[in-house]
């Protein structure tokens, strides 16, 4: 399958995924569209599954989805580029989400953003050049009493301070390099 090889080439330089997972993910793309072929109304669900699987929506997957569901390519691209839940570029291995909602903001969430930006050298929406971290901002996570809230890979950290955040980032980094040394 042409798409298989394309995906592999595309992913090889991307630190987040390894070769074995890749072949799996291509298979799973088949699994995702299976049973939903020629059903344009399933577009968003399919894209959500692709996002979950790859962490972003690869170009090639959009082409496949367009063909399989019978949705014009521009329509797939329009939807994928419209919703914030979809990302068109690979995100880092770890995702740091800083809440900038009103409650967190008044408790100094801006300082968290500055801390992350200073420590990792990326502004919100960006990914570090080593592909380890992606930084995002949201407007309220519904946990205002615990603010400022920072989420790392789905885990909520409450009452954050720049110092705590800095240690958190360091610990993730340390764990990652350890993991790589053992691999």
């Amino acid at each position: 399958m042409i798409i298989t090889s394309l995906l592999q080439v595309k992913h090889r330089d991307h630190t987040g995924l390894h070769m074995r997972e890749l072949t799996m993910s291509v298979k799973s793309l088949d699994v995702i569209v299976e049973g939903r072929r020629s059903q344009p109304q399933q577009l968003i669900e399919v894209l959500q599954d692709v996002q979950d699987l790859c962490g972003y929506i690869p170009r090639e997957s959009m082409i496949t989805v367009s063909k399989e569901l019978g949705v014009p390519l521009i329509e797939v691209y329009r939807v994928a580029s419209f919703y914030k839940a979809f990302s068109l570029v690979p995100s880092g291995k770890h995702v740091i989400t800083v809440c900038l909602g009103t409650a967190c903001h008044v408790r100094g969430a801006r300082r968290m953003v500055d801390q992350v930006a200073g420590q990792l050298g990326v502004s919100p929406g960006g990914t570090t050049s080593d592909g380890l971290f992606t930084v995002e901002c949201v407007n309220c996570l519904g946990a205002c009493a615990l603010g400022p809230v920072v989420v790392l890979d789905g885990v909520y950290y409450d009452k954050m301070t720049p110092r705590k955040l800095s240690r958190l980032i360091d610990s993730v980094r340390a764990a990652d390099s350890e993991g790589r040394a053992n691999a």
């Binding site: 170009r59 959009m62 014009p72 390519l73 521009i74 329509e75 797939v76 691209y77 329009r78 580029s81 419209f82 919703y83």
Partner: protein, 228 residues
Amino acid sequence: MQNYVTLTIDGAPVRASRADSVLDVAIEYGICIPHLCHVPTISDLGACRLCIVEHVQNGRSKVTTSCTLRVQEDMVIRTNTDKIRKLRRNIAELLVAEAPNSRAVQDIALRCGVKQVRYPFRNKTCTLCGRCVRLCAELWGARAIGFVGRGKDRRVDFPFGVRPDFCKECNSCIDLCPMTITPCDGPMKTGEERLCGKCEGQLLMNENFPDFCVWCALGEGFGCARHA
């Protein structure tokens, strides 16, 4: 089922075919409703908001876009109340601030009575009217371009930003684009944008005949459906 309905536009009873939009009918009867994104023969999107009218129902009036409003029996429409003209002038003002580098947009601003622009000029290259997108999809079935992104990043683009091989390179998208008609004095540079306002006679026309289609020369510029 009857194929014709009778409705009232600006106090005049008019007969129209059931499938028509209020804008179609008004243009046909010589009532001027400025519009930008409406193009005859392709579907209406309601993108530019210029064609707003008041739809009076049970003593209440609702402001809505006439290009997407189907005619109904006994409908009462007002196209040139003070309220509408004020709203429309503001929409046109925003439009010309967003994309001053188009004679079409400048013309519309004039016809809507814009005398000064209170918003910062952005000098965008697209008004997001969606003429090109609908034309490509509906006339050619190519679907080579579409809206991408959201909010202030919304734009017209090819899939992934590259011209796909199914684009017929017919250039009809460009033919219909209001941004391809440059202002009479040539393109304005960033920082030098202004309200053109050279066709002052047209501004007078707007004051004296706000609700009549006067076959204004401006109409040609913005591809008014009357001239199409």
